[in-house]
Amino acid sequence: MHEVDMTKCLLISLNEWRDRRDNTSAMVETVHLDVGRFTCVEPDQLVTTYNAAVQGSWLDGSRLTITEIPFIGRCLSCNGTYDPVPENAYRSPCCDHPLEEIVSGRELRIRSIDYRSDSAAALESSPIQRQR
């Protein structure tokens, strides 16, 4: 269950994002991830883990959406792109070349965050803001 550790990393980044922007009032609606198909991440498991991990936190109610990025290699023999598959040992079907360049599929990226920021609500609900 490395998705648990990936979720921990994600939450650290989201907490840093909030602290860096002083966005104590930010209410995150959706976190958009790009996950390549040549990673060891199971998107469904990551969403499940995220939903469990944010319960009771400032991210409670937010959604994690994952866009899967296809695994594409480039054949350095003819410069064409191809879908590497295990049945062909990830070699290029055009020239039977080994997998050298990976064009996409290794992404593990927080692409963007959709959020609402309400300064009035923040003053009401955030003791940190009130002290200032």
């Binding site: 980044s13 400032w58 937010s62 990226r109 609500a121």
Partner: protein
Amino acid sequence: MTPQLPLSHLQSSASAETDTPLPAMHMPLEDNLSLNLLAANTHQADHNNEQFQRWDLICFNLMSSPGAGKTLLLERSLPSLARELNMAVLEGDMTTQLDADRLEAVGIPVVPITTGRACHLDAAMVSGGLNLLQQRLDPAALDLLLVENVGNLVCPAEFDVGEHHKVALLSVTEGDDKPLKYPLMFRNADVVLITKIDLLPHLPVDLDAIRRNILSINPDATVIEVSALTGEGLEAWHRWVRHALVQRKSPIPALATA
């Protein structure tokens, strides 16, 4: 921390306050981050790596499925390398004290990393191991630090711990299709040791197919066939270790900090 209002509450209260116009801040915002999902681990791994640079040592991350022979490889390799190198092991694959005892018996300090039931080591666990290591010895006196990862071909491949090189082991008993089933591990490895080759006469396994599959996924990999039991191939592995050390010890300064 004060619990934040649920989103539905914000929306309903916002629409109820029709007499006061909504400030622009109510509009949904989008922040384009394009941030590495594993940034937190990467930061810690970079920090570990900086520490390795300060200590002027080189670190290998040893990975394989359970039972591929990581511990026996260390047990047979390290006494031979110990004549020329100062080494220590961070042991992350220890369900019992047994593995550590086997290495301590050959005079190599072994620091256990407590993983609980983790399926891989991450950079923070290794950082904890480095703190324990410092309590026991001066890491600056080391040439080589070997991190023995948890036996698993899946997730250790995705979590850097700050190592200079990834070393993957694959035993011939696992079958020649394993590089294709766990491609990420073999793609990311700098060197792949095909272990237990003494068993080849007894197995319907194609050594050339193993080698070909590894090199199809990772044409840059160095592939070395070894038997820790008979010692066959160990010298080739030791040459690779020495070569990695020589390369690291004479870096181009401008590149070393890059």
